[in-house]
């Protein structure tokens, strides 16, 4: 473990109301307000907001922002390729895979002989729809803590997909209505369902169409997809699998389905009461975030002597670091959500 002068690290990167700021390079990472220069880790709406003057991100993240916000989402853009370092006013920045969603990246910042990694959101297990996370040796590791409690251990995703397949066998007449976040989770779940051998058409809510089409254009085969946003009565959905964002389930859209069986793919489904409150009959614990074990293992693997925790269950992760003799503190950045996982 390399010992770091805390003040030194703070000079290179520190939180401001807009987000994490690097004064030497004059840029923000995942700013929650509009800024001059933003480095963006991935395309989820709370990290990638429109209206910055210049945006640097992976090509996929830039594409996703364009799909979501239109061409004018930033005045200028710069593509960052994985593993290629760029010099910004004497600060070296390198984007490395974060394994969260297509195009997601950790950002390695090197200055004054110090290495700081802002990991954005990440998960460690393989995901067929994006590049796999690589732990990066560093002095300061900035981590999320969405699932930063010992109760959050995500099971093997194939087991969770198996539950869905079994349920479709047991309730062959009901429409299985599967809720999943529209960027990343939806495509990953579809791919996993295909890997489990289900090759019938999957119906998707209109809000998923563009992003699914984009994933397919990037060589990720999602199999046959059909629109679920049709006039009521046009399609008989009994026995079919329909994907939509969970927020659409409470609206009028969900009424066209005969006796729907509500499924939800999310790390929160580990907690029964969460599933129950949301009226979920079949919870599937599938998360795009690191679970407790992955968070703590990653912290060790980076060799960092200082851990900064951005959002989620900061206090528990900081406590774990304390117990393990690693210096840690919460950054208390306001504006990142974890409910929509």
């Amino acid at each position: 473990m390399r010992n770091v002068n805390k003040l030194q690290a703070h000079e290179i990167l520190h939180p401001r109301p807009e987000g994490l700021y690097c004064p030497l390079g004059d840029f923000f990472i995942d700013p929650v307000r509009q800024v001059d220069r933003a480095l963006i880790t991935h395309g989820h709406a709370d990290h990638a907001r429109p209206g910055h003057r210049s945006v640097m991100a992976t090509g996929e993240t830039l594409d996703i922002m364009r799909i979501r916000y239109g061409d004018g989402f930033a005045a200028s853009t710069q593509i960052a390729s994985y593993g290629v370092s760029t010099n910004l006013n004497g600060v070296s920045v390198t984007f490395l895979p974060a394994g969260h969603v297509l195009g997601s990246a950790q950002i390695l910042i090197e200055a004054n002989g110090m290495r700081i990694v802002a990991s954005g959101d990440y998960k460690c297990r393989p995901d067929p729809t994006c590049a796999t996370f690589e732990p990066v040796i560093c002095d300061v590791f900035i981590t999320e803590a969405t699932f930063g409690l010992p109760v959050f251990i995500h099971p093997d995703d194939r087991l969770e997909i198996g539950k869905l397949i079994d349920s479709m066998d047991e309730f062959p007449d009901r429409t299985h209505l599967l809720g999943a976040y529209s960027l990343g989770k939806a495509q990953r779940v579809i791919r996993l369902i295909r890997d489990a051998g289900y090759d019938e058409p999957i119906f998707i809510h209109g809000a998923f169409e563009n992003l699914c089409a984009y994933y397919q254009s990037q060589g990720i085969d999602l199999g046959p997809l059909l629109p679920a946003t049709v006039e009521p009565g046009e399609v008989d959905f009994s026995g079919k699998l329909v994907l939509g964002s969970p927020s659409a389930f409470s609206g009028a859209w969900s009424r066209r389905f005969a006796d729907p069986l509500i499924c939800y793919a999310s790390g929160w489904m580990r907690i029964r009461q969460r599933a129950r409150q949301q009226g979920v009959e079949l919870p599937m614990i599938i998360s795009d975030h690191a679970d407790w074990r992955e968070l703590t293992e990653t912290i060790r693997q980076t060799g960092a002597s200082q851990i900064w925790v951005t959002h989620g269950r900061e206090e528990a992760l900081v406590r774990w670091c304390d117990l393990n003799g690693i210096s840690a503190r919460p950054l208390n950045i306001v504006g990142y959500e974890d409910e929509s996982e």
Partner: protein, 536 residues
Amino acid sequence: MRRFAELLDRLTLTPARNGKLQLLETYFRETSDPDRGYTLAAITGNLELPGVKPAAIRGLILERMDPELFAYSYDFVGDLAETVSLAWPDHDANEQVGPTLGEVVSLLQSASRADGPALLGRILDRLEPSGRYAALKLVTGGLRIGVSSRLAKQALARMGGVPIGEIEEIWHGLAPPYADLFAWLTGQTGKPENLFAAPFRPVMLANPLNDGDMGKLDPKEFLAEWKWDGIRVQLSSSNGIRRLYSRSGDDISNTFPDIIDAADFEGTIDGELLVGTPPDRVGTFSDLQQRLNRKKVSSKMLSDYPVFIRCYDLLFAGGEDCRSSALSERRRRLYDVISSLPADRFDLSETVAIDEWQALDHARNNPPQPVIEGLMLKRLDSTYVAGRPKGPWFKWKRDPHVVDAVLLYAQRGHGKRSGFYSDYTFGVWSGDSEPLSLVPVGKAYFGFSDEELRQIDKFVRENTVERFGPVRAVRAGPEAGLVLEVAFEGINRSTRHKSGVAMRFPRISRLRWDKQPHEADHLNNLLALLPDKTTR
């Protein structure tokens, strides 16, 4: 253990009765003995395990994790068993399968009180999170999965293709893990013989009398009696063994020692359990509720709320099965049996003269006591048949009370109704002077047509003023809001509701788009319906 744990998880999250039945049936079909038998025992409350206290469970987890991390976890999850099951250090990687439910049950049953917690810890080590949760729920008692014993028996009936009455009839002679029952249901052996003393016999139920039925029926062929608002029971006594059953076959003898002590006869009686002293003093249903679901009964309870059985029918006289004889004959013999029993515990249900339907209709709506729900009409020649056969017995309830109330809150439904706001909380006006305020008096989620559901749903979405999770508060004031006509069977006092009253069996009978909320009823109109407490 994995299949059992998975079943519990699915049942917890499946709101629809049919869905639960399907899950249970599949489970019983696909799981082998003795696991399915222990599952059945756990669901029906017949699994005897030494209990482990929550404090001991907390002690187990704190031996294994940092107290502060546990506190954060418990705070987030909110349920002790669930927190422990999730935060428990993971199971031994060498053990791929884990213990079966049968193994877990026999291990726990062999434990002494002192080494129970340590043994539980070793069991949890060998299980996965869902299995750990299931094991913890077993030892803390109370699965809380929303499945009644009757529903479990219904799933068994479907599995074996037999009438549920046959299962109920032999049920009390069976014991976990019910290998003989499953052998019969899967066609390997014959039906287990019922050697149980004073067994439960499936009860006979009535169909509602519909408007058109009367003209087709001849009053001379029927007996009419009051329909009392207590609980239907069956009292069985044989060779010194006495048991009291609810109508679904649950043994409730321990709750009613006063009845058991007085049951000095041989045979099986069908009747209504009521609070009071016969023949004239009959308490309300809420009085009876004081006595229900108690494991121990204090002597004060026994003297404040004495119970008796108003007898309807006789199923067995001594060892003789009377069910195939005519009702008129059974009533005659019932009279003989009761006359030798203590008069403060047993009386014969009075018959009501049937001269013509019209007079009876009047009697139905103007019963001599408020605890009467209406009339029963039974063919004098009817035999006693399990279930709800069409034709021999009818119930003819008094017309429900109705009240105009204002919609206050709506909650989203499940299953076929997911996506619709289908559960409604409604209120009436309260206060002595202007401005009056609306107080909630009840909740209803049926009674309306699909089209009406769509209309209410639209109203809710367009008039939401606040949201609380799945619940929406809707606009409700003197000039703006939706008036619902609510039908209900009666009113009880309630300390749980702000209004001080609770409705029995409320349902939406009409949507009053034509009325303004200020025309809705006042709480006083409901209070006027409260039964007089002095009748007890």
